[in-house]
């Protein structure tokens, strides 16, 4: 008997954190203007210590104004989508659940687009509208996916497919009302893109977004031991003293928030929420007290690496990062689905 300890969680997370740091440094190095690893570490160190005058100005602008914000955004989006995925998988008792597959990302995208058209300059309107879209889609898919009072795995996935195509149709309709240039930008954003949304002074923006991530992710993490039992069976969890309805509400709201947050800043990047938790389960087991933090860091690593590839493979042409995650995620999804059917 070797139960999970907080120390083990901390050690594994520290290891993954180091991996994320390496991924970030490599990503900072790659680009049209070459900077050595030593210079990157020096620049980062000086920046953290506030000694801006000792940094060469071209390094400062490339690292702090161009490459680092994009990496931070990748970390935020990856961690949010991956945490939302683990939450949805427990909420719906389905290992195939993921914000993208269930149509929740499309709902968030629709909300965001409506906000962009209706109130293009209102602060936070896009995020809030994306959350509302995500929450409404989760509720709709959840109720459509029930059969005989129980969530049915196959019906749920069908409900997700229907939601994606229905919401995409509305998005297409809205996009045809836009001008040609806006439409191209919007199409790129829809495929998942970390470049187009960054404001000129991203620091306070990041602070707000990371705050939302910590609150929503923390809420899901606080229920992790309850989720372990719910995954064994809802009835049994109730008998063991879990307030199942309260846990579901918390996870439902928080996971919708995280999806809305990610989609509002990066469009619909798919399969992160299914790919990462699956790999983490294979590596570290199914205990949610370990799975949620490892998936969050793993999601951050995946999106940072995918975005680095997206902007360097066909350089100077950039690919949408969502196209790359879908290329990796779709085969994993099919593998998981076939294994369950067998």
């Amino acid at each position: 008997m070797r139960p999970l300890t907080p120390k083990r969680v901390a050690l594994i997370c520290a290891g993954l954190g180091a991996l994320l740091f390496v991924a970030a440094v490599v990503s900072l190095r790659i680009g049209a203007y070459p900077i050595s690893v030593v210079d990157i570490v020096k620049t980062l160190g000086s920046g953290i210590l506030g000694r801006w005058e000792s940094i060469p100005s071209e390094h400062r602008s490339i690292i702090f104004d161009v490459r680092l914000p994009r990496i931070l955004l990748g970390i935020l989006v990856g961690a949010s989508l991956s945490t939302a995925g683990t939450g949805f998988q427990a909420l719906l008792r389905n290992p195939l659940a993921d914000p993208y597959v269930l149509g929740v990302s499309s709902g968030a995208a629709l909300g965001a687009i409506i906000a962009l058209i209706a109130a293009p300059h209102a602060a936070g309107a896009v995020q809030i509208a994306a959350f509302v879209g995500a929450a409404a889609t989760t509720a709709a898919v959840y109720f459509l996916g029930r059969r005989g009072g129980q969530v049915d795995s196959a019906t749920l996935l069908l409900a997700g497919i229907v939601a994606v195509s229905f919401l995409s149709a509305i998005i297409m309709f809205l996009m045809t009302t836009m001008s040609g240039r806006d439409m191209r930008g919007m199409a790129f954003w829809l495929m998942g893109d970390l470049a187009s949304t960054l404001p000129t002074n991203p620091l306070p923006w990041f602070e707000a977004l990371f705050f939302v991530f910590i609150v929503a992710g923390g809420a899901i993490y606080a229920t992790s031991s309850d989720l372990n039992l719910i995954l064994t069976g809802e009835q049994e969890a109730r008998h063991l003293g879990v307030n199942v309805n309260r846990v579901r509400l918390v996870v439902y709201v928080a996971a919708s928030f995280l999806t809305g947050l990610a989609v509002s800043v990066s469009g619909t990047i798919g399969y992160v929420g299914i790919l990462v938790p699956h790999v983490m389960r294979m590596l570290f087991g199914t205990d949610y007290r370990l799975l949620i933090p490892t998936s969050a860091i793993g999601g951050a690593i995946l999106v940072v690496v995918a975005d680095t590839l997206a902007r360097s493979v066909l350089s100077p042409t950039e690919l949408p990062v969502g196209a790359l995650t879908a290329l990796a995620g779709a085969p994993v999804f099919i593998y998981l689905m076939r294994r369950r059917v067998r």
Binding site: M1, R93, T232, E236, H239, L240, G241, D287, R289
Partner: protein
């Protein structure tokens, strides 16, 4: 807690230890009645008591109200009228975690979504005692190990749940319930998927848990003869009514059983005062 078989034999323990564990007073339940229709009673007023160290069998044909009674006892549903008390506290007034510390329910397990080791499964029984993220303490591990020993499943500790046989799985589910350290142990048709050897072994084990570890055990079952052999008290239900409560000898009346189970039956009284039910002579006519 010892798991030695010792002198445990399915003898009637007529001397009752003081202290009523479970008290059911005129408890009834009806499914949601609308304004237009009269309430449809799933269980009419039912009363009985169970003491420490007692094994009570709840018998009855399908749709007799057995599951409803079990739901009321487990606190899943609140009785429409009457009271159900465990250790002098009304079950429906207990918060979820306190309830889980007093009452453990063993049901047919649901399908596991992700693979789980036996020890991880049994440790779940410690959930009602945990704090915050509920990282398990050494005490929790010790209690889980004890629970596994009590059901004779030490050797299964590191196996995967989905690789166990029916009987092994049933023992592990029972171990998780014991890890809850309940005073009341409820089992919903635990013998359903077991062969005859497994059924006898399980009931012997439950008898021993009641005798040696002072649990009060309630079993919903279809097994008339096993219930007669191992239980102190029988609660007989029929079409949502509680027909009779008493020792097996008191309840096993030929005419009554024939009426309830709608089959030709004979009741033999064996040495030791335990009745036995066999198919009647006019079987097949």
């Amino acid at each position: 807690m010892s798991s030695a078989a010792g002198s445990a034999s399915p003898m009637v323990t007529s001397e009752r230890t003081p202290g009523v564990r479970l008290k059911v007073e005129q408890a009834s339940y009806a499914y949601a009645a609308t304004d237009r229709s009269a309430p449809k009673f799933a269980l009419g007023p039912t009363s009985f008591e169970a003491q420490q160290k007692e094994l009570v069998a709840i018998l009855g044909p399908n749709a007799s109200g057995k599951s409803t009674l079990l739901k009321l006892l487990a606190g899943i549903e609140r009785p429409l009228s009457g009271r159900i008390e465990v250790d002098n506290t009304e079950v429906s007034s207990l918060d979820l975690r306190t309830r889980a510390q007093r009452i453990a329910l063993v049901q047919q397990e649901s399908e596991l979504l992700f693979p789980l080791r036996v020890w991880e499964y049994v440790l779940q029984g410690r959930y009602p005692y945990g704090k915050r993220l509920r990282f398990e303490s050494e005490e929790d591990c010790l209690l889980a190990a004890n629970a596994l020993a009590q059901v004779g499943a030490d050797a299964l500790r590191d196996r995967w749940m989905d690789q166990l046989s029916g009987g092994e799985k049933q023992r592990v589910i029972l171990a998780r319930a014991l890890a809850q350290q309940p005073s009341l142990l409820l089992l919903d048709e635990p013998t359903q998927h077991l062969d005859i050897g497994g059924k006898v072994e399980l009931l012997r084990r439950l008898r021993r848990l009641a005798d040696e570890s002072r649990y009060t055990v309630l079993v919903v079952t279809h097994e008339l003869n096993l219930a007669a052999e191992f239980s102190d008290r029988i609660v007989l239900l029929h079409k949502g009514k509680c027909l009779r409560v008493g020792t097996p000898a008191e309840v096993y009346d030929r005419a009554l059983l024939e009426e309830v189970f709608e089959a030709p039956l004979d009741v033999e009284m064996r040495a030791g005062g335990r009745p036995r039910v066999i198919l009647g002579a006019n079987f097949g006519t």
